[in-house]
């Protein structure tokens, strides 16, 4: 028997929650875990180690990592400026950070394509410099960096706000230069939040679809991302193959999230 509680509604709330969670999330995900094995172990292995699949996984994970690492300094810069400085337009800047969260991915994809196409506002000058962005792996990374930036800013911001000036003041009274205080006191305190932000940006980027497919060009073996390959297999009614690739994608990104989690715990020593 459950312990009696002063507040009512736990049973009802849990019932609704598990029903909602089970029907919408768990049962369908179970299908993803079970369906691939129709192919047999060897079949699944063959299905996810096709050269085209491996190339797409390399691109999805590689571009996601590059994008998250590019977002790291940019996000830190934006978070620092928004928290620490007062300047005209700060409010607008702060609100604009969430744009990639709110903007539908298809719109973002279309917009980035227009911007970085060889005749676009940024694409034209870059093309003149010999850099091709749209319809190349670089374009994929640009789109993923767009999608991931707010994750880093929003993870770092509250930690930076809570940090307050005392620790830096203490460093100054102990003889630290501004740079030393920043490198030895501020940055380590932000470490776990930065890693968490990179992890989130990365996880989002690995599975990203809408903002990428317009700008990627989608050439097999070159600029084709793994989620697109899943769609391609579904269109050929290769359910098991699509499920195998989906499962592989999901497991790989969970494994990476575990790695990020472990890094975060290492950096968190002594921090709240």
């Amino acid at each position: 028997m459950r312990r009696r509680d002063a507040l009512p509604g736990l049973g009802l709330a849990l019932g609704v929650t598990w029903l909602w969670l089970g029907l919408i999330v768990l049962v369908p995900l179970a299908a993803l875990a079970i369906r691939p094995w129709e192919l047999g172990l060897a079949g699944v292995w063959a299905s996810v180690t096709e050269p085209r699949v491996l190339a797409s996984l390399r691109l999805s994970f590689g571009a996601a990592l590059v994008a998250a690492l590019v977002d790291l300094p940019l996000g830190l810069l934006v978070a620092w400026v928004v928290v620490r400085y007062r300047f005209p337009g700060r409010r607008v800047l702060d609100a604009a950070i969430d744009l990639p969260f709110a903007l539908p991915t298809a719109v973002a994809g279309l917009a980035l394509t227009a911007l970085y196409a060889p005749n676009g506002w940024l694409g034209a000058p870059l093309a003149a410099l010999g850099v091709k962005v749209a319809f190349t792996p670089l374009g994929v990374a640009v789109a993923l960096a767009f999608v991931g930036l707010p994750f880093i800013v929003r993870m770092v911001e509250p930690v930076l706000r809570d940090l307050g000036p005392e620790a830096e003041e203490a460093a100054a009274t102990l003889g630290a230069t501004r740079w030393q205080a920043w490198r030895l006191v501020v940055l380590p305190a932000l470490g776990p939040a930065l890693v968490a932000g990179v992890g989130l940006a990365f996880a989002r980027a690995v599975g990203e679809y809408g903002s990428v497919i317009f700008i990627a060009g989608n050439r097999p073996m070159e600029s084709e991302i793994a989620p697109l390959l899943i769609v391609a297999r579904l269109e050929q009614y290769d359910y098991a193959g699509a499920a195998a690739l989906g499962l592989a994608l999901l497991l790989l990104s969970f494994a990476l999230l575990l790695v990020f989690g472990a890094m975060q715990r290492r950096l968190r020593r002594g921090l709240p």
């Binding site: 003041e169 203490a170 003889g175 230069t177 006191v185």
Partner: protein
């Protein structure tokens, strides 16, 4: 190391946090900055450390003007109110920080730093805790780590902002006496901020009472209690009761108490400040009555009803007062100021 502060001013928005502070601290002194919150004491301490910059006025440390000396070059040890320990560093990392960050020419060797850290851990009575993180320590231990960290750079001056503010009463008393001993042993010149008058009066060589951004009086605890500079200081110190009176012919006359000498106070309406130890209650028919009696750490305290007012007083030796018993009150001393 002497500290001389003159005409120091600092405004925040429209509010003057420091409004012409004058203060001079002799080498080796232990001085308390005492005041209510908002009186400017923390701002003064931060200005001394170079964490805050005055709009006007001068700070001389050992005769040297500090105006263009940044905080990191002042060589002042600062202990923050909430300690501001670096949470991601171990205790040893915190204490050694000030040595590790020196430019390589003046930086001690790794072994030397480790030795210094051990010494400081001994000094603050935390031997063997160097590997802990700050969040694994108690409040009192953190406070001592903060102190060791500040002492590691061998400061000429030690500044402490409410050093005992976050500690519970027993730890607080113990640390107070220990800190005072440490100050004497290391030959420091120290300044600490507090809003607790017991703490200030018990520990400091001299107490600088601050109000509205100024030091209104800086004196030894005895002198401060005996001769407060004005009604504000008198009212702030020693749990004094405030009583209206009238000064005539060098005496202060009360409604229901015997008169006391009030030399040098202008004739007319005045206020008198009476501490419990200034009032002696004796048995016998008189104008007063015992309203309550309680025992505290320093002996028996009476609350006596005199006319309209309730006053704290000390009973005459050997008398066991009962509630409601009539008594007489003698005024041993009073500090009287024109109203």
């Amino acid at each position: 190391m002497t500290i001389v502060v003159s005409e120091l001013r600092r405004r925040f928005g429209g509010v003057a946090a420091l409004d012409g502070v004058e203060l001079s601290v002799r080498s080796g002194e232990f001085v308390a900055l005492l005041g209510a919150s908002g009186s400017g004491k923390t701002t003064l301490l931060r200005a001394l450390a170079g964490l805050e910059f005055p709009d006007a006025g001068r700070i001389l440390i050992d005769g040297r003007d500090m105006a263009s000396v940044p905080a990191r070059a002042r060589g002042i040890g600062f202990v923050f109110q909430n300690y501001a320990l670096f949470r991601h560093m171990t205790v040893a990392g915190n204490i050694g920080f000030g040595l590790r960050i020196r430019p390589w020419r003046s930086r001690p060797s790794r072994a030397e730093i480790a030795r210094r850290v051990e010494e400081l851990l001994e000094l603050v009575r935390l031997p063997g805790l160097g590997g802990r993180y700050p969040d694994q320590l108690s409040g009192g231990q953190r406070q001592r780590v903060a102190l060791a960290r500040a002492l590691a750079i061998e400061p000429r001056v030690l500044l402490l902002d409410e050093p005992f503010g976050a500690l519970d009463a027993t730890v607080r008393r113990e640390l107070r006496l220990w800190l005072r001993g440490l100050h004497d042993r290391l030959g420091l010149t120290s300044l600490f901020v507090t809003h607790d008058q017991d703490e200030a009066l018990e520990l400091a060589d001299r107490v600088a009472v601050m109000r509205d951004g100024r030091v209104v009086q800086c004196d030894t605890p005895e002198a401060l209690l005996a001769r407060p500079a004005d009604a504000g200081v008198a009212g702030f110190l020693g749990d004094a009761a405030r009583l209206g009176c009238e000064v005539r012919g060098g005496m202060a006359w009360f409604a229901a108490l015997p008169p006391v000498p009030a030399e040098g106070v202008a004739e007319g309406q005045a206020v008198a400040f009476l501490r419990p130890v200034d009032l002696l209650a004796e048995p016998g028919e008189g104008e007063a009555r015992v309203a309550a009696s309680r025992q505290d750490g320093r002996g028996v305290r009476l609350t006596v009803a005199v006319g309209e007012s309730l006053l704290e007083a000390v009973p005459a030796p050997g008398w066991q007062p009962r509630r409601g018993e009539a008594c007489r009150v003698r005024v041993l001393a009073a500090r009287v100021f024109p109203a």
